[in-house]
Symmetry: C2
Subunit: 267 residues, 2 copies
């Protein structure tokens, strides 16, 4: 194969499995090429990804070393995307009785979901995440794409104790919107003790769900390394969790019923 | 930029958005290069993807034409992957009281989920799919990745009528395992009339859920173009749907309680 073919193939293989370490020797075997040749190919890959803002290719030294791809969106591109998303969320006709917004079209479209997942993954990639956790149902697609870019399993917490999950750990939590006490359940074997967990959810209002997920992670003898939410409702101002990372913020003018959606500029 | 850099960048851009058509002129602008140069670059991309079995790059002629990437796994590689999956599903220790299997670790791991999604997408890519539809909860990750590779929205059907979904269309269906009558709900605005829908689910046992989803698609004045399921239970032999595409088949020896999992060789 020629260099340009190897470069193309390396890009594909690395980007198909984000955050996964490939050894240099796996590539020398695959392409039947010398280490020095593959090293030069990888240098081309690194440079073109940097130059085009397409992500980062990182070399890890040592015996367990190798090379891996991680997404890396430029800050201005992230803000441009979030502004586009804010525009879509703020479109008229999304209001649903009860103060809800219809957002399933955005939450479930791969072009949005994959970019959202990449932004969450980029933020927490240094935290040695072992699992992404979410609670059913609406946050699952963005949590899945975050797990994809971090290359870790997704843990789906359930609102009911399902017989398909086997033994479960459960936690009671205050459902933010009405203050109801609810219970959620995760398979006992879904999280190994002493793991690092990233919580991802679609919305944060009072923070009761996020707080419940944090408590659940602790019941697994594990550590919450971050909470990522797509939409933060400004009200109530006092949330039950202190640290979380919203991508956009939504406030409602109670007088007119109109909403304002703004991007988090600290992305 | 040099050719090898452009080739790498083209691979990344095309594969980040599977099944999306990019015009040649979008690339000539991006790289500030002549059409003939980009055409030659794309030829290199096509050939290397073919040669390495990394997917297909297709050129579409005409005014609305351009170039797009679609996943395209070699048949023997698909079968190798499904055999690996069968081995994992058949591992001891997965049995749960009630005849269930604990499979969340496989269903939610990006490395499995993304390959499963690619295999479904490849099968139905010619069907002009407009939506992938699934019912909560366990099938959502594989349905999401299928939607990603087809570049169409995912429609998540709910088991309850949630206030966050707005007006819904509902359907009653026979829950296969016990024959119970249940109801499921999809947002009224989630599917435009006269659409082509691909149904994706984790399991098929009696086929009641798949049948319900088919009925629901028809209520949207739309057409079911396929039903993809990850695991087909051999029992009951008589299913409520006629045509579906399983990736693996599972049979239970009632005498010993042991299970047998085999790949669908027609992939």
């Amino acid at each position: 194969m020629k260099r340009n073919e190897r470069v193309g193939a390396l890009v594909k293989i690395l980007c198909d499995s984000p955050n996964r370490i490939f050894t240099l020797s796996s590539f020398t075997e695959l392409f039947d090429s010398a280490k020095s040749t593959i090293s030069e190919d990888l240098l081309v890959v690194k440079q073109l990804m940097d130059q085009m803002g397409l992500g980062k290719v990182i070399t890890l030294p040592g015996a367990s070393g190798g090379v891996k791809y991680i997404p890396n969106t430029a800050k201005n591109e992230k803000i441009r995307f979030l502004e586009e998303l804010c525009g879509r969320i703020g479109e008229s006709g999304r209001a649903i009785p009860g103060g809800y917004l219809y957002l399933a079209d955005l939450f479930n479209h791969p072009e949005y979901v994959s970019r959202i997942g990449a932004i969450f993954a980029e933020r927490f990639i240094e935290e040695q995440i072992h699992y992404v956790m979410t609670v059913e149902t609406r946050g699952i697609p963005i949590a899945m794409m975050t797990a994809f870019y971090l290359n870790v399993p997704l843990v789906i917490v359930r609102n009911e104790n399902k017989p398909t999950e086997g033994p479960t750990l459960s936690i009671n939590y205050i459902s933010g919107s009405k203050g109801d006490l609810k219970t959620m359940y995760a398979p006992k074997r879904a999280v190994k003790p002493h793991s690092n967990v990233l919580i991802i959810d679609g919305f944060i209002r009072g923070g009761g769900t996020a707080k419940g997920l944090e408590d659940l992670v602790r019941e697994f003898d594990s550590t919450v390394k971050g909470v990522g939410v797509l939409v933060e409702f400004q009200e109530p101002v006092q949330k039950l969790v202190r640290l979380y990372y919203p991508l956009v913020r939504l406030s409602e003018e109670t007088a007119t019923g109109s909403i304002k959606v703004t991007p988090n500029l600290d992305v």
